[in-house]
Symmetry: C2
Subunit: 415 residues, 2 copies
């Protein structure tokens, strides 16, 4: 059961925006049993869009198209799709009402002619009403293949996909069951992990696929299988995963599906009625921002201080100036003091602190770019570690954030 995704827009082809829509759609379709054969991004250009639609039709039973449905002249997806399915654009009164309602809701002037043109849709298309925007979703069919066009604005696309597209697609198609389970490991390289589980990999059932997903400081291992029967597919992958976890128990963080490391930390803290705070230097607030991305963060996260300037570590966290002068601002001692004092200032049980040199400049001290000290204060004491994360500002920050959560989880699990 194959699907394809086509994302349309010059902005993708010139690299001005990253195509995040495709990954979201792929994940949602995968959940209901579709394998994505290909994702293609093409320009706002008629011949090219027609070509890719024709190619996708030959390979897939379902084609999801996003982008190019806006009110302005550069958006041509609707016209081209209408031509492709040999249909004509007609005005749809329900879509027009929706556009007028949206303009009223947002206290805008009356819709412009360009907005009302968005109510023009292929006559045979089933309309998927877009509550959050003026461009409607459209369901069309050609020679048994389903083509669904969605707006490119991620928020609008996501709502339409999950609320309108997925239920309808699930009803129309008889689908197999696809199951993935991903294990997150920290601290060992891809090939070293592969060496450790060589025998396991060789003895893995043929229809269970193992994939390695290395990224900064962690390797994720994904087991996947597909089959008609949900129970047997799930049971087989879960049994293999259990074996894998046993083989790698010393470097395992947990299963990715269960929760991200941050959600896992949040869940444990909440169950223990314990609180967290931060004191960040080189990570500049990113640890706090990652924590507060999650709904319900307020029930475990007290807050944080970004003490970017060295003197502020003294002023806000009450670090003795002598400590900084003696040990250097990038030191285990300073990181530990930051963490401990963050607990005190925020009245929290755990605190994570970072101090380091994200680069590209070396900063005040003698340390190389990429040197980062991370500390975690706990009700039992404080632990810290010094890292050399190499060059690349973004990379140093990201590695530091990942490592901070890893160290934090380790300590929290000791409660």
């Amino acid at each position: 059961m194959f699907a394809e995704i086509i994302t349309i827009g010059d902005e993708i082809l010139i690299g001005q925006v990253v195509d995040t829509n495709a990954a979201f759609i792929a994940a949602e379709l995968n959940k209901i049993g579709f394998s994505i054969y290909q994702i293609s991004s093409v320009q706002d250009e008629k011949e090219h869009i027609l070509n890719i639609l024709g190619a996708a039709q030959k390979r897939a039973e379902l084609v999801i198209i996003t982008g190019g449905l806006g009110p302005t002249k550069d958006d041509i997806t609707k016209e081209v799709l209408s031509e492709f399915v040999e249909d004509q654009l007609v005005s749809n009164s329900e879509v027009e009402e929706n556009i007028k309602r949206l303009f009223k809701e947002f206290n805008l002037n009356l819709p412009l002619p360009a907005n009302l043109r968005q109510a023009m849709v292929p006559s045979k298309a089933t309309i998927l009403m877009n509550k959050n925007g003026t461009a409607p979703g459209m369901w069309m069919e050609k020679d048994g293949v389903v083509f669904i066009a969605l707006p490119g604005v991620p928020y609008e696309m996501k709502h339409l996909l999950t609320e309108e597209v997925i239920p309808r697609v699930a009803e129309k198609f008889t689908r197999p069951y696809i199951y993935h389970s991903t294990l997150v490991t920290y601290g060992l390289g891809e090939s070293a992990v592969a060496e450790r589980i060589k025998e396991f990999e060789e003895n893995l059932a043929k229809h269970v696929k193992l994939a390695y997903l290395p990224s900064l400081g962690k390797v994720r291992l994904r087991l996947s299988s597909v089959g008609a029967d949900k129970e047997s597919v799930t049971a087989e992958v879960d049994a293999a995963m259990k074996k894998l976890q046993g083989l790698l128990s010393d470097i395992v963080v947990g299963l990715e599906e269960e929760s991200s490391i941050i959600e896992r930390i949040g869940k444990i803290l909440k169950s223990q009625k314990m609180f967290l705070s931060t004191a960040e230097s080189c990570t500049g607030g990113k640890i706090a921002a990652e924590i507060t991305k999650f709904p319900g963060a307020s029930s475990t996260f007290k807050g944080g201080i970004t003490a970017y300037e060295t003197s502020l570590k003294t002023k806000l966290l009450g670090l003795p100036k002598k400590l900084i002068d003696t040990y250097n601002v990038v030191s285990l001692e300073v990181a530990e003091a930051m963490a401990v004092r963050s607990c005190r200032v925020f009245d929290s049980d755990f605190a994570v602190a970072t101090t380091g040199i994200a680069g590209p400049d070396k900063g005040e001290g003698d340390d190389e770019v990429g040197t980062v000290c991370i500390a975690v204060a706990t009700p039992k004491g404080v632990v810290s570690e010094k890292f050399h994360f190499g060059k690349g500002r973004d990379r140093v920050i990201e590695k530091s954030v990942n490592k901070a959560f890893e160290m934090l989880l380790k300590e929290i699990l000791k409660i």
Copy 2:
């Protein structure tokens, strides 16, 4: 002059990772005159990779492939490419040396056989040495079309692309000049902007393309042209852009190429030797994290406080409890007090503060999810505004962050 980008990996097709590599490669190739005809993502599957390579060969003169070069069994790109260009894999001693060097540098044990297999490359390929990883880049040719394979790890890919690929490609191909200029506007919808510049759009030279890029709270307008002569292409687009800026002067933030809004704020503050700080509630540290993404942030950013729990606004920022009780924690009064006190605590000239309800739960007060108050304290006083950003936690946070920088820039420009 067309190029194509092929990204390989099941993780992309199941939506487990967002393909950020394609956008980076597209932008870099575009800068040197290549139009990207298509971006395709395909699975780690031999027939499929062979098909897409064949299709790309017919459409483009340059094909960049990323992913599938790892040391583990699920990575097959190298074998398939070698078959495609009718070559054979041979061991390359320079690549082997590089692998051994990397293992030494990172204090790892000796390379495993799996790592040394990464030194196997197509015999006719030109090697692009990967200083940052064990998978080499490879330059191959078939019937006049250049195929370049790069590792999928973004950091390694980026270095190889900018340091090895771009200079070689630039030398090999005679390329036209492509020029984009993008204007960032805030506060008006896509179709309202289109209506304002209708005449301008109609009179635009045919070879200059105008594109609208709407996103949360802002619309970007891109003018693009391509031609043999750099000077005339640039002059024509710049002249049109100047007109466009004039037509939209009241909603213009600036040109995107110049710098992001954060870089622009940083530049002005630095030139004035002035400093910035934050006091965040609902944005949870994201404003600080966005500021510190940029190298040199330390020369203008003092730091910030994330006071997530209400009581901490009193404790850390010294906000009178009475103020919060009287006006409600999500109020202009509290936002203003947070900003003013952030200036005091951090000894900064400007401070931006947020307080609001990111959702999905309503929180302590009476306000709806999506209600956010933002304040900017300046040497001259403090300004604030209340917003209703709708639902969706991520969306509320992102809109708040964007709006905060917009308000901050507006005030900074008044200095």
